[in-house]
Amino acid sequence: MPMQLQIITAEREVFSGEVDALVAPGVAGQLGILPNHAPLMTVLQPGELLVRAGGDDSYLALSGGYLEVLGNQVIVLADAAEDVDEIDEARAQEALVRAQERVAGRESDIELEQAVASLRRAQVRVTVARRRRSTPHRSLAPQARQ
């Protein structure tokens, strides 16, 4: 029996539909959710979200957020969520380099914290972007709105 998944950010609804399984980047480690999971509320860290629906895998880059399981409903409240096909790998790579430079050239602890956070987001995006070539996947992204 599939479960309902909804991925929403403050700006839009990224995905809504039935899925068979998902693997999310919880703060305490990778977290697999299958149908009929017990009610759960967890904080997510920046990472890759794997969604499996009807034998197809989809990957999204998440930059942190929350995950709630209730009944057979899973809701991901993401700070930002991007599908593989929405990420421009070259740009993600550039952002990663910039983030690395910022970490190296930081001046204060607060700046370091921010720089490390953006570095982690950049790393996630690059990892997910590479999936486009390395792993068969299906796009979850809704049509971009003009």
């Binding site: 929403i8 403050a10 703060v27 305490a28 709630e68 209730l70």
Partner: protein
């Protein structure tokens, strides 16, 4: 009495103004549609996060510590986030919101310090009050959550540091295309909504309820600020659309009235000339 030429010049000027206001109203209409979409797109997230916080706040905690953003203090200083448009020509919109804010400041017993978003509010508050603490202008029409976090950070840090004992948010709520409403809401301390008992489910919390809550609360505040800005943009554009459409109608009306006057004048002058001509001829023959 103005001459026909004067009136013709006037008509042309009125028509040009009409073209400009018509273009502005069309632009505002398209921006309004986008802003409205942004408001609706953000709604599921807003509702969900609200619900989760309500559930979390209802959880019994092991100790008595209250999260700083939930803590109520005696109110000495009130922080006020005033969200206004950058540009005018939007009817009475900024006057409405500014009036509401002014009344709030006058009625408040506590010291009010305002954080202003948008030029219209800045100009007003800088001129008539001494409350302005920070100003943000030139937000784009397609604002993103990231653009607004600087504003929410200021509010959250100010509250945590005890600079404000309460924070209110003033903005124009988008009710419909022809109706916007100035509102002032308290955003800090966060007041979790009361829960219906059916919603109290035994969740597994990872890592634990307190951590989840303290990660969510700032996000909730950020989201409220972001949402208010979206509403304000939608209101601004729809107010401008309506104002500019009225202006276009007025311009067209004025142009047609003037055309009537001009035609009448022209006919009068032709009649007069003819009369002169005929009169002269009659005099010659006679």
């Amino acid at each position: 009495m103005p001459s026909v030429r004067d009136i013709r010049r006037r008509i042309r000027s009125v028509e040009n103004t009409g073209k400009v206001t018509n273009a502005m109203s069309l632009i505002a209409a398209s921006k309004m549609r986008r802003a409205q979409l942004a408001v609706t797109d953000g709604r599921p997230y807003a509702e969900k996060i609200h619900e989760v916080i309500a559930t979390l706040a209802a959880q019994p905690t092991d100790d008595d510590t209250v999260h700083p953003l939930l803590e109520t203090r005696p109110v000495n200083t009130v922080g006020m986030v005033v969200i206004t448009p950058d540009r005018g020509l939007a009817g009475g919109m900024h006057a409405n919101i500014n009036r509401q804010v002014a009344r709030f400041i006058l009625d408040s017993d506590a010291t009010v310090r305002s954080i202003v978003v948008g030029r219209k509010g800045r100009d007003f508050l800088v001129r008539y009050t001494d409350t302005v603490q920070a100003v943000f202008t030139d937000l784009s029409d397609r604002v993103s959550l990231a653009d607004t976090t600087a504003i929410s950070r200021l509010v959250i840090d100010g509250y945590t540091a005890g600079e404000f004992d309460e924070v209110h948010l003033a903005y124009m709520r988008f009710v419909s295309t022809v109706q916007q409403q100035p509102v002032i809401e308290r955003i800090l301390p966060v007041e979790p909504a009361a829960l219906e008992s059916a919603q109290r489910v035994g969740y597994i919390y990872e890592p634990d309820p307190a951590t989840v809550l303290s990660a969510l609360l700032p996000q909730f505040v950020e989201m409220q600020v972001y949402h208010a800005i979206l509403e304000s943009i939608a209101s601004e554009q729809s107010a401008r659309m309506v104002a500019m459409r009225n202006a276009t109608d007025n311009a067209n009306q004025l142009a047609s009235d003037l055309t009537l006057v001009m035609n009448k004048l022209r006919q009068d002058s032709i009649t007069n000339e003819l009369l002169d001509l005929v009169g002269g001829q009659v005099a010659m023959e006679g």
